[in-house]
């Protein structure tokens, strides 16, 4: 079976991946002196694990459909360059970093406003993002970006298939999955299980150094700084605290295994009253 040039071109998908740099999940999180943010020293920064699935899926779509461009779009400080380079080393084509002190403290709506402004200047048929970022666990930015752009969103995708300008997605919900169809352009959020992200190869890392990585400010995007950052936020962190410590409990001793089992059942019933 052969495809003529025209259909080949029409199948190409330009994809933008929304990528956030977050503390590695191994990191012990410490609260900063202001009690409203975390200490950023001694933190190992990585690509948000759910966004890694988004990068991988973008590369697979590109490979399957024979072309199209994969752009990584990140809002964050200078250190986020490292995460963008990692995605470029995996195989993405270009990176955009929106780095502006005015975005500090933005809530999901503010972040979405900035990302949407950058997306309006970028060619895309598909936007991919992790289902949530594992730092603020907000689940909001992708949906808010889709709303700003007026395109459909499909959340928690574990499988997708594109054909004729439409996309079919299998998504996880409580108790199973649903298959949803929508039209492109669309925004999808990726859920664990969609793929196994590749590691960057050494040649990939070398190539990534030469790939375009553009830095933009709010002024470049025409975004009013008062609408974002702390001043524009409608969801503001007042204080951070640690969850109450659990005191180490009772180790159940006993002669025979059956004794220990019986004692546990007794404690669960009489002391904890949970069964």
């Amino acid at each position: 079976m052969t495809n003529d040039d025209n259909s080949e071109r029409s199948r190409k998908v330009d994809i933008v991946v929304l990528l956030k740099q977050v503390p590695d999940t191994e990191t012990l999180i410490q609260i900063a002196d202001d009690k409203a943010s975390i200490k950023t020293e001694d933190v190992k920064w990585v690509i948000n694990p759910y966004d890694e699935f988004a990068v991988e899926e973008a590369l697979r779509i590109k490979e399957k459909h024979g072309g199209g461009k994969v752009t990584i779009l990140t809002m964050g400080p200078e250190r986020a360059v490292e995460s963008i380079r990692t995605a470029l080393a995996m195989g993405a084509d270009e990176g955009i970093l929106i780095d502006d002190p005015a975005v500090e403290g933005s809530d999901a709506l503010g972040t979405a406003k900035v990302l949407a402004a950058a997306l309006r200047e970028t060619s895309y048929n598909l936007i991919l993002a992790g289902q949530r970022a594992v730092d603020d666990d907000g689940y909001q930015v992708p949906a808010a970006v889709a709303e700003q752009l007026g395109i459909p969103q499909v959340s928690m995708v574990i499988k997708e298939e594109i054909s004729d300008g439409r996309i079919l997605c299998e998504c996880t919900v409580e108790g199973g999955t649903v298959v949803v169809e929508t039209e492109l352009p669309a925004l999808l959020t990726t859920q664990k299980g969609i793929n196994e992200p590749r590691y960057a190869s050494l040649p990939g890392i070398m190539k990534a150094k030469k790939k375009p990585l553009v830095k933009k400010t709010l002024a470049d995007l025409g975004v009013d700084p008062s609408e974002v950052g702390v001043s524009g936020a409608k969801c503001k962190v007042v204080t951070l605290s640690f969850p109450p410590e659990r005191s180490p409990g009772k180790i159940i001793e006993g002669e025979a295994i059956e004794d220990k089992a019986a004692e546990l059942v007794r404690l669960l019933r009489e002391e904890a009253k949970v069964i």
Partner: protein, 322 residues
Amino acid sequence: MAQGVLVFAEQIDGSFRKVAYESLSEGRRLADALGETLTGVVLGSGIEEIAGELAKYGADTILVGDDPGLADYTTDAYTNVLFDIVKDNDPRILLLGASSRGKDLSARLTARLGSGLAMECTSLRLDGDNLIATRPMFGGKILAEVALGGTPQVAAIRPNVMEIIEVAKAADVERVAVNTGVVKTRVVEKRIETASKVDLTEADVIVSGGRGMGGPDFSVLEELAEVLGGTIGASRSAVDEGWRPHSDQVGQTGKVVSPNLYIACGISGAIQHLAGMGTSKCIVAINKDPEAPIFKRADYGIVEDLFKVVPAITAELKKQKD
């Protein structure tokens, strides 16, 4: 001026999610504190009969949006319809359950409303007229208190955390006009394992297995879960090994759970796992290694081979049932 508390009560195929009752009970508490009314909203197709159930959880008024276009959840239709209802009713506070669909809906809706949203709240309080929400971040390693702005102030409630309070009262049930608007998404197929499986986020009892399971055979845990009416969970290692599906994973990159009873079998207790189950009311750890970090978080621990002790617990429970 904005007034009252509006609660979106999610139903699937004619049954409300438990978190709908939890959200209504919490909504009742806030409405009482404000001296204002509580309105429940039900969307779906052929759901008028079940709508009245919400009175039991404190709703003064129940709004029913019944339309074939709402039979399946789609982001577009539900956002369009709920947006209209919010605009017509102008509530001070809007609560939703943070189920998969509730998260999707609340995120899209608040972007349209220009409202702040606190996702997966574990408690709410009022500071004057302002809603202050507590929500876990970093997979439960940190608790954040957040202040909400915009009208309404919107919070999505984490399932299984807030108390359900039943009250004896009547409610007005009103049907509202529905315009599903432009809908670009369509549900093609549903693959739901029905009532047989309670989702981890709503389970009262979770029996979880980790690397110590040594393979995909979780039958000893399944037998224990069955006598306890519980659900099976897994650590990240067990999922990464391919022993259990991703949907079973508990932890920072899986599901954050808070059952009444969490039994961790052969799970060492990596920081990401502890973050994901740390709010469980009672934690039991079973592990051969007495040094396993899980014992520091457990209410009860048994240092023993899980393959010996778990069947003994199952047998003890069965014996007492008979």
